[in-house]
């Protein structure tokens, strides 16, 4: 009140006309209003009229707020769905350069080796293709391999290139012949061991790649009982082809089981521990935990 400006009627420099008008306006009401009649009508209007914030009005306000909240949630869900549906670009140039996994049972030609592989690995693979005899430099399966990133199955290599689906119908069991372990350039256990288990839930591959990945997982599982080394090689190949695949959990679980089946208990335990850290609630957890406790 103290900071309010001086009222016009309290000002000494006010013109007589303005002063007279303001005094008139302050002294007398502008209209003659019959308050008693107004109150009587007001009584009639009040019958049944709620006072204050009635329960109905509060419910109405609450329903409006709930509708607004639902609308916002729906908008956010739509945006999130669109974001997830949109295919993401390849994760890295290495993944882009990796060979296509369409028809995974197809043999791994030397030119399809990942670009990141060393030249030494390529040099090791090419002679195996050119010669019919097994290479003397081929490392035995039981021996740890440090620099052999690829696996080659001769029986599969000889087959004509065909779509994966048709081949899977013709030969549902594509297990290699009994001599296969001798023909296998075994998978690189140490290189695998030095690579940590990748934990990711991002679907970074297309649906077609996911189907191929699943097919490879199924084949590795079939090979695991009788040919654990081959299964390991397939799993390592799968790791390179789909480093952030959709079935990483299954792949790593099969790797632990295959290592255990191959008698490589130390590596199996290491992989089992890292697997249990990454997927403590996995359906494979019980079996993997059994291996880790041994």
């Amino acid at each position: 009140m103290d900071h309010d400006p001086t009222r016009l009627l309290e000002s000494t420099e006010l013109s007589p006309t303005v002063r007279a008008l303001l005094e008139r306006g302050r002294a007398r009401p502008a209209v003659d209003y019959d308050v008693a009649a107004g109150v009587a009508r007001f009584h009639v209007s009040l019958e049944g009229a709620p006072s204050g914030q009635s329960l109905t009005r509060r419910l109405w306000n609450f329903s409006k707020a709930a509708k607004l909240a639902l609308f916002l949630v729906a908008c956010l869900s739509l945006v999130a769905t669109l974001f997830l549906i949109t295919p993401s670009p390849p994760a890295s140039p290495q993944a882009r350069a990796a060979p296509s996994t369409r028809g995974f049972p197809q043999p791994f030609p030397a030119q399809t080796a990942p670009a990141a592989d060393s030249g030494e690995a390529s040099a090791r693979v090419r002679p195996a293709l050119s010669s019919a005899e097994p290479q003397p430099s081929t490392t035995p399966a039981a021996e740890p391999l440090h620099n052999a990133p690829a696996v080659r199955v001769r029986a599969v290599k000889r087959g004509p290139p065909a779509p994966a689906a048709r081949r899977s119908h013709q030969r549902p069991n594509v297990a290699p012949p009994p001599a296969l372990p001798d023909r296998v350039v075994a998978a690189p256990p140490l290189a695998v061991a030095s690579r940590p288990v990748e934990v990711t839930s991002d679907v970074s591959q297309s649906s077609v790649d996911s189907i191929d990945e699943l097919r490879a997982i199924a084949q590795a599982r079939r090979l695991m009982a009788n040919e654990p080394q081959t299964a390991l090689a397939l799993l390592e190949r799968l790791t390179r082809a789909h480093p952030k695949g959709y079935f990483v959990e299954e792949r790593e679980a099969l790797r632990v089981l295959a290592l255990s089946a191959a008698g490589r208990s130390d590596q199996a335990e290491r992989y089992a521990e890292s697997f249990l850290r990454a997927y403590p609630n996995s359906p494979f957890a019980d079996r993997i935990r059994t291996i880790a406790e041994h």
Partner: protein
């Protein structure tokens, strides 16, 4: 003004408000430009709105500013209901009503002219500005109470008040000059005007 606010009431119910401030609300609505035919409905709207709010509750806003805010809202709704009439007759529809407290015909004419002149000057102001001007200059309310009732910053109230005063006085000065010119045209210059030095 003739309204008698209840003394020391922290909260006032709507009926008591009506009895104490009914005349003020009617006068305020009239000065905001509500025509006589809509005045009773507008007054009822104001106090029904006050009833829905649970009456007046003591706070920064006074009962007068509280009802002034509701009256401004009621004026908007009345204008919306009768938009066709307002478009046809303009803002001066309420100027036909005035207090009749004169002792004789001549006094009544003077009062009527004064009332019309005041209303004409008020109608130069926007309704929101006019409400602030009326509450501050005629009702004697503080700027703080006005700001609290209308949900305005105190600076906005000062600004509106300044604008209202300037416009109000400028209109009256211009009206006075027009009147003097008209007198000169019909009756010639006043005797004192010939000797006045500027």
């Amino acid at each position: 003004m003739s309204h008698d606010p209840p003394e020391g009431c922290p909260s006032i119910d709507s009926e008591t408000l009506f009895r104490s401030y009914g005349a003020f609300v009617a006068s305020f609505l009239h000065r905001l430009g509500v025509r006589a035919a809509d005045l009773d409905d507008a007054v009822q709207d104001v106090f029904m709105a006050a009833h829905r709010k649970g009456g007046y509750r003591s706070g920064a806003a006074s009962p007068t500013t509280f009802l002034g805010r509701l009256a401004l809202d009621a004026r908007r709704s009345v204008r919306r209901r009768n938009l066709r009439f307002w478009k046809a007759h303009g803002e001066s529809a309420a100027s036909a009503v005035g207090g009749t407290d004169a002792s004789g015909p001549e006094q009544a004419l003077i009062l009527r002219q004064t009332t019309d002149q005041l209303q004409a000057a008020l109608e130069e102001l926007e309704p929101e500005v006019r409400a602030v001007f009326l509450l501050f200059e005629l009702e004697g309310e503080s700027c703080k109470a006005i700001a609290a009732a209308f949900g305005l910053k105190i600076g906005t109230v000062y600004s509106r008040l300044h604008h209202a005063r300037t416009t109000f006085q400028a209109y009256l000065a211009q009206a006075e000059r027009r009147e003097q010119k008209a007198l000169l045209r019909h009756h010639g210059p006043r005797p004192d005007a010939l000797t006045r030095k500027y």
